[in-house]
Amino acid sequence: MSELLRDLPGRSLSEKEFEEGKILFNFDELHGNFAWDTGVAVGSYLAGLKRGVILGAHCTTCRKTVVPPRMVCEWCYRPMNEIVVLQDTGTVNTFSICYVTWDVQRIQEAEIPAVIEIDGASPLHGIMHLLGEVDADKVHIGMRVKAVWKPADERQGAITDICYFKPIEEV
């Protein structure tokens, strides 16, 4: 069998061969368009971001506040009682320093995604976002941060309405 395998004419192709037109091919793309229903809770959250506030949901039975808001309390399974306005400050719960983008391109300046516990939400409840205006070396767990918002007229009801979180100057 190994003898036969050695004789097979197949081989891998390089990008150069495609560029130079040495290999014929058919290019196609799938149109994977989707529309995801935001629902009541996350819909309100996105509308809140457009207004420049971070919203959470509060359960009076469990005295828990979660962010992003949800319709149902994940502890008691009862409907959440109210949407509450939280602060746009928080504490870094965990973070990562990335020198590659999502499509595996190297970058010189690190992106720092972090989970930020939002002030006003229950302990350990937060959202994932980016940190900015900070040295990658200086980032630490427990660091106090504040949201940097896009100008009001550029906000579109998306998590990217917050540009990033920056450290709060410790006085």
Partner: protein, 153 residues
Amino acid sequence: MALLERDPEAPLSWEGTMPVTNRYTFGQAGERFFRLLKDEGRIYGSRCDQCNLTYVPATSFCERCLSKLEQWIDVGTQGEVHTFTILATNYDGTPSDVPEIIVLVKLGDGGLIHKLSAVDPEQLCIGMQVEAVIKPDNERTGSILDIEYFRPV
């Protein structure tokens, strides 16, 4: 008091797209088949004398006896309609203005699936003799679309 009302200013949906692209290479025999179509404007088949079969499009091996096929022959541009379908809907689901006729044209012992044009749908029948209309050589790219369409002889 439960939360049941959606914020009137809330976006109803979040829209996006998944970037999925692909590049399909034709393989050993396919590369040669399309290269010949591009360079010579001819349709080639591969011949198995042992089984008395001509494969179109040309293949590297005989499907029946599995022997390697070295003999490539020009099968011409004429064949007969083996089967057909009439498409009245576009890819996006909208009705099309001009129905498109897709045929399997028998060439050798195989065949090609392609468009049939310049035909009255009333006259369309299985067994109809058709021929390939091949693009001029400066427009050919090495694709099945180097054959513009088939038309009745």
